[in-house]
Amino acid sequence: MSETKKTDADVTTAPDEREILLKVEGLQKHFPIRKGVLQRQVGAVKAVDGIDFEVRKGETLGVVGESGCGKSTMGRVITRLQEPTGGSIHFEGQDITRLNAAGMRPLRRDIQMIFQDPYGSLNPRHTIGGIVSAPFRLQGVEPEGGVKREVQRLLELVGLSPEHYNRYPHEFSGGQRQRIGIARALALKPKLVVADEPVSALDVSIQAQVVNLMDDLQEELGLTYVIIAHDLSVVRHVSDRIAVMYLGKIVELADRTALYEAPMHPYTKALMSAVPVPDPKRRGAKSERILLRGDVPSPISPPSGCRFHTRCWKATEICKTTEPQLVELRPGQRVACHHPENFADQAPQDTVLLSAAKEAAELVAEEVRAESAKTSAAVAAVAAGSAEETGAEAAGKTADTAEQPEAEVAADVEATAPKTGPGAKTAPAAPLKTGEASTEPEADRQDPTDK
């Protein structure tokens, strides 16, 4: 991955200029559960339950989440290895949601997949030459200079030797097998590569080799990646934008820097705080850690409202009843949460914590809660202040000087409040004070949803 491409300026200022390669809207994949003699459907595993995102040419979209959140199913559905049960998939502007096998065939060249298990994804009875040349045979492509030469070139491209052509998969180590899988995926010069946990089965030192290889190939061949992984450090390293999934939904979709520096969804924050940092000095800083209670609920009957409300330490009544929409709160950062971190509260009127949230909050260090309240209060106060400036004529020039202290006061009040209990929820008090002005930033924020 070129360094220029990775710089923030490029990612944040010019994401719209790149062409959209893949657009997914309301994608659903429900696996039916059947019971009884008649095999009547009694329920469904809602593996993917309505997700929207787009992938732009040349970028890498990382998808993270715990096991069972539907990220692998999502990968298989967008490559049409599994049929979606709802929603639409557009590839280069063409609707591929309902294409049949014959219709998909020419597109298979452009969409390829790298699988997680380098042992299960290579046929043990075929030679490496046979495996890597299969795409040419199936698509009836005759590369320049012949298939064998092209396969040997591919093997060299991924760091294997051309003499490996006649060997069998069992003669290779895990890392080498993963390279074979990559060579096969790249044979037909695809436009989009979906990689499902490409490095999780490999040793750390080998993992780095494969990550670097994928970087180089992207630069060389202008590939677009969707990388699905559970390892947040790897995803941070390879992705331009990152989608965080929880129980079949995207809860946050943001640029890499924004997501890691100022995550807005409490789940994202918890997920990142749980990653062990290879620095023994940070061990004492346990206060940063947010422990989540229990396990991910079943996707057969996901919790009502916000699916994370059963484990969230900020959950209130509205989280139980109303599902938050994925809204662009900051440019390039879409979040589905009523009470986001690092931002103004989206449902400030709702301040009573659910009992589950109170229990969950016991596991969250006070420092974390205090800091989170402080930042949201500051953001809210600034937002309210600027709204006041433009909205209220009477305030005039004094608004400029008035807004600064107000933000500070709000922050100070909040810094002490959490000690008295679940005070984190009182943060939005600042914008409420300003009366009608507070509705304005709210309206502004909702705007992006309408488009």
């Binding site: 030192s205 993992q207 396990d295």
Partner: protein, 363 residues
């Protein structure tokens, strides 16, 4: 680790046969498996010590001998058909008792009671036909002459202790009814039911999600504090090591290449392989637009371990020492600081220079 620095035991040349001061001491352990293709030297001369209440992390790639070491301590290589096909030598001292030469029945009495193990994959480590409760009760009754009722009470108590909700109901559940994290908790409960003084955890969190991993590591830490056990934790994740270890042992090709306190190994690593491990890890806590620095090549075959320093074919600095000493002479562990040992031919000056000038700035 104080014991280590003041005696020569750390270097694997103690007075053999004498009981050491440390709670667990392994001296010059060798575990070899004869196969049709040749002798697999899985562990080839390994020494280390662990005190009660301390945690030693063993790190290394797959095939570096980490798991074989743990199974050797538990005496699990000598069981059944496998026992005929292993050559073990060296000493393993647990609380003043030597285990390598001990009678298998004696080791069996210790296993589960004084030393217990947590395996990587709880689904295959637990019996699918028996309830979780049954398996914990069995583990308890093997070592305690108590009624089933008492043992069951103890099982419920342990499940509660490791944070399983409604333990009195879940005790009758089967392993497949538990989620991955819950299963791992149940296995920890099973391992700790006899209050063992040594707990060996072989990749206990590798199969788990990060959120659950954080819970399990916290649990192991809390239980260790409560029971004062010695913990040997095997992992390949340096993040986990930094989180939980007191001491670290880096293994490569069946041997220890570096050993020291967690600060030594992370702040002043002295072996190129350790540098390689640190450089190939993507890190969540830093903005890294730079490339990872992988270790080139493949891990060595344990049948044909490279001559000289086993790491030399992959080492970028193998040509710095004069002559072909890296290719012909096997480096021994040498003390490079209080309680910090490294097996490398590079001179201390070269190592310090390479680490501070070339490696550390890129991490």
């Amino acid at each position: 680790m104080t014991e280590l620095s003041k005696t020569g035991a750390a270097l694997g040349e103690p007075a053999p046969g004498n009981a050491p001061d440390a709670f667990l001491a392994v001296r010059d352990l060798k575990v070899h498996f004869p196969t049709d293709d040749g002798l697999v030297k899985s562990v080839d001369g390994l020494s280390f010590q662990v005190e009660k209440g301390k945690t030693l992390c063993i790190v290394g790639e797959s095939g570096s001998g980490k798991s074989v070491t743990s199974l050797a301590i538990m005496g699990l290589h000598r069981l059944g058909a496998r026992g005929k096909n292993v050559q073990m030598s060296g000493e393993i001292w647990l609380d003043g008792k030597e285990l390598v030469s001990a009678d298998p029945d004696e080791v069996r009495r210790l296993r589960g009671r004084e030393m217990a193990m947590i395996f990587q994959d709880p689904l295959s480590a637990m019996h699918p036909y028996y309830t979780i409760g049954n398996q914990i009760v069995e583990a308890y009754r093997v070592h305690h002459d108590v009624s089933k009722k008492v043992a069951r009470k103890r099982a419920v108590e342990m499940l509660d202790r490791v944070g399983i909700p409604e333990p009195d109901k879940r005790v009758d559940g089967y392993p497949h009814e538990f989620s991955g994290g819950m299963r791992q908790r149940a296995m920890i409960a099973m391992a700790l039911v006899n209050n063992p003084e040594l707990l060996i955890a072989d990749e206990p969190t590798t199969a788990l999600d990060v959120t659950v991993q954080a819970q399990i590591l916290d649990l192991i830490r809390d239980l260790q504090k409560e029971f004062g056990s010695a913990v040997v934790l095997i992992t390949h994740d340096l993040g986990v090591v930094a989180e939980i270890a007191d001491d670290v042992l880096v293994m490569y090709g069946g041997r220890c290449v570096e050993r020291g306190s967690v600060d030594d190994v992370f702040e002043r690593p002295q072996h190129p392989y350790t540098w390689g491990l640190l450089g190939s890890m993507p890190r969540i806590d830093r903005e890294t637009s730079e490339r990872l620095i992988p270790v080139k090549g493949q891990p060595p075959s344990l049948i044909n371990v490279p001559s000289g320093c086993a790491f030399h074919p992959r080492c970028p600095y193998a040509d710095i020492p004069k002559g072909d000493v890296t290719r012909t002479v096997r480096p021994e562990l040498q003390q490079v600081g209080g309680g910090h040992y490294s097996a490398c031919h590079l001179s201390p000056e070269d190592r310090t220079r390479i680490w501070t000038e070339e490696i550390a700035p890129k991490l």
